[in-house]
Symmetry: C2
Subunit: 131 residues, 2 copies
Amino acid sequence: MKRKATPRVPAPARPRLRVLLGESIAIGPGKAALLEAIAGHGSISAAARANGMSYRRAWNLVDTMNRCFVTPLVESSAGGAHGGGASLTELGQAVLAAYRDMEIKATRAVAREFEAFERFLAEPEASTPEA
Amino acid sequence: MKRKATPRVPAPARPRLRVLLGESIAIGPGKAALLEAIAGHGSISAAARANGMSYRRAWNLVDTMNRCFVTPLVESSAGGAHGGGASLTELGQAVLAAYRDMEIKATRAVAREFEAFERFLAEPEASTPEA
């Protein structure tokens, strides 16, 4: 079932860490990247664009994060729908830093096993996102 | 935004490990549980029921896994749609064991950080799965 097409951007296999709270993803690679983009761009809409997602999708991810933690990770300033600025709260900065720290430690802990595991994986181009 | 309702089954917060291949989840907690159920129940339909998912959903997850690895993890025997048996291939068993091993090591590696991280998390009942 392996296809021979060469992917334009070969995405390597990688282990990823997420933190689930009940059935929700409190934080994972996608939400961490979004937090970083919000910190860098100063708005949810610019962060959404930078991460190639719709404003609605980014807003939903922010909303989930804000509900999963004791206090919000992102705060918005006035400016109307899409127009306002957004920034990380103190907790948002702490959560992002803690997640990156755990991510590094988890990745390092499985590095040797993952090297062996990779031999089992097909070429990335053989895979497509599931529906 | 915290609600006071008591969940029937309090799902604790937990760090989870997934392996991405390109944009696909080659294996993660859900797929590992499905593999275990297939090994235990001997069919995809029984494994789907045991994991509270539709046959179609289980079949899609199996299909993704089979495409993500060099050879299939699950093999089906004859018996028509839904009727046939299914079992793990040798690679399926190896991948499941390797994933469980990496999962334990990753969880152990972040245990101390996660304890601190948990203080930031809201009560599980405050969260709902995102759309």
